[in-house]
């Protein structure tokens, strides 16, 4: 049946086998929960190499989006790549205090806004990105306030702006 119980077949299995064979030790975790869905976790050090392999060798040319997530002390960045319907989510964790990653905009130009969005909302610094100016947040948004971090609850953000709203 359609949504929940689809067994991985064809292209999905081929990609899974290829990843195991070619990237083996670089992959921390490889999950294929159903057909056309692959989750790959890598270390930060291996990230760029794996991203290059996926986009160049395996032809994952389309990026659906980039998800950023606060993972207690770590910031998880998930690249949702697509090839003819197979959605591969490449996951990498970076320390929240020193959240930097190499950009992938040279590999996939369409990633340019998604990296800016994650930069805005979670403070991940994408090295060599052409323009990391604010995309979603206002130009005068205070430094260090990253709305999608769990520590920044709605109440805390409200308090932060309590003084400025009265002006």
């Amino acid at each position: 049946m359609a949504s929940t119980a689809q067994k991985p077949t064809g292209e999905t299995v081929e990609i899974e086998e290829n990843l195991k064979e070619k990237l083996g030790p670089k992959i921390l975790e490889l999950k294929v929960p159903r057909n056309r869905r692959i989750f790959v976790s890598v270390e930060k050090t291996a990230f760029r190499e794996v991203a290059e392999y996926l986009t160049k060798n395996l032809e994952f040319k389309h990026i659906s989006t980039i998800t950023g997530r606060d993972a207690v002390g770590q910031t998880e960045v998930i690249y949702h790549l697509n090839r003819r319907g197979v959605e591969l989510s490449l996951k990498v964790q970076v320390p929240a205090e020193e959240a930097t990653l190499p950009t992938i905009t040279d590999l996939i130009p369409g990633a340019v806004l998604y990296e800016r969005e994650v930069h805005d909302l979670l403070g991940v610094d994408f090295k060599d990105h052409p323009d990391l100016s604010p995309l979603i947040l206002p130009d005068d948004w205070p430094k260090g306030v990253y709305p999608l971090k769990k520590e920044w609850t709605v109440e805390k953000i409200r308090q932060k702006f309590a003084g400025s709203e009265e002006k």
Binding site: T4, R34, T65, H80, G110, Y114, I136
Partner: protein, 393 residues
């Protein structure tokens, strides 16, 4: 930039009509656009953050409000993400009803867009006719769901209302009219000089650029790239229903018009098939309130293109993280690309041709960089300027 270059900020907003105002900074040389930069966020409502403090059931209604026009796309994508995390299979009849509502929503959206495109090129008769006919689609939706815009029709585990035989008959009658009308509008668009002069060769997006910039939906398919989530990554009952993926290779506004005309006809075919093959049985199963830890990527083909929701659950009744990427964001790099090289007077229709959720960029300021002179135009003034410019040329 040469001394003759002007900067034109377009936007940011008119939040009344559509919900995502944007700002575009245009650099122009005479009448030609040489560079475009987009700035979004004027109406960022923090829905992803809000979702983390609401239960899965509350979020069903929250995500419906991400977009007023393609609300059902968000609800479908979200509901199937939660159901996948729950490992819950919804009844076949519910899947068919969801598909019917989804495609009706696409018809209403494409009719709305084609009308707006007519308005942008000064063809307001077309606008009036299309919005009149669009009522038929909204009436069918109202009869099935009880609502015209935000439908509140789905539940985690199925749909909230069943379709009666009378509704099937009424829907089919309405679809016949919609089909006949859309065939006429397509013929009109192919033959009417008012449309052709403003649409052919305007806002060109080459296939290689569309792929590199990760365009989605009709914008991508009008550049000749056959990509549709319904076909590539089937959900609901799209693996059972016969349908074709529409592409045109003109890469311009005209192709985007034709893609949407044909897609409307395809949607009518899908709905008719689904109404004829509606399986018997329940429309809903009971879903647990707590969702076990899981992560799910859910996709669907919204009227404007690929929509993706990423859901991470943590065993509670609230999501750990819900990421939503609506199709318009995916198309902004492409919009910036195809506006370059075009005329200022073509900005409204070219911008509108991607059907972004911010066509109503209301206020525009024009800045002469060399002497600092500045003037402000509303979107309406730019539209009038555009019409006048095209009348004279």
């Amino acid at each position: 930039m040469s001394e003759a270059t002007f900067q034109i900020p377009v936007g940011p907003q008119h939040p009344a009509l559509k919900e995502a105002p944007e700002n575009f900074m245009f650099n122009i040389d005479g009448e030609t656009v040489v560079d475009v930069k987009a700035r979004i966020g004027y109406n960022h409502r923090g829905i992803e953050k809000a979702a983390e403090s609401r239960s899965y059931i509350q979020n069903l209604y929250l995500v419906e409000r991400v977009c007023g026009i393609c609300s059902i796309a968000h609800v479908t994508t979200y509901a199937q993400a939660v159901e996948e995390a729950l490992n819950l299979e919804i009844p076949p009849r519910a899947k068919y009803i969801r598909t019917i509502i989804y495609e009706l929503n696409r018809i209403a959206s494409h009719y709305l867009w084609l009308g707006l495109a007519g308005h942008e090129i000064g063809f307001d008769t077309l606008f009036m006719y299309l919005w009149r006919d669009r009522e038929i689609a909204l009436n069918i939706l109202e009869q099935i769901t009880g609502n015209r815009v935000t439908y509140a029709a789905f539940a985690i585990g199925g749909v909230r209302r069943d379709i009666s035989p009378q509704m099937v008959k009424n829907a089919k009658d309405g679809l016949n009219i919609l089909e006949e009308r859309m065939k006429y509008y397509k013929k009109l668009c192919l033959n009417e000089p008012t449309v052709l002069k403003r649409a052919v060769g305007v806002g060109v997006l080459k296939p290689q650029d569309a792929i590199a910039l990760c365009a989605v939906g009709p914008t991508l398919r009008a550049s000749g790239v056959k990509s549709d989530v319904r076909a590539d990554d089937p959900y609901l009952v799209y693996d059972e229903v016969p349908f074709s993926v529409v592409t045109y290779d003109g890469c311009d506004v005209a192709s985007r018009v034709l893609v949407r005309c044909d897609e409307t006809l395809v949607s009518i075919g899908i709905i008719n098939y689904a109404l004829d093959h509606l399986p018997e049985g329940p429309v809903r199963v009971k879903a647990p309130r707590l969702v076990p830890p899981a992560e799910v990527v859910s996709r669907s083909e919204a009227p404007r293109g690929e929509l993706i929701h990423y859901l991470k659950s943590n065993g509670t009744d609230k999501p750990e993280r819900l990421k939503i990427r609506s199709p318009t964001l995916g198309n902004i790099p492409s919009i910036c690309k195809f506006l370059v090289g075009g005329f200022v007077a073509d900005i409204p229709i070219a911008l509108a041709s991607a059907d972004p959720c911010f066509t109503c960029t209301d206020r525009m300021a024009f800045v002469n960089v060399s002497n600092g002179k500045r003037w402000v135009w509303t979107h309406e003034q730019l539209r009038r300027y555009s019409l006048k410019w095209h009348q004279q040329s």
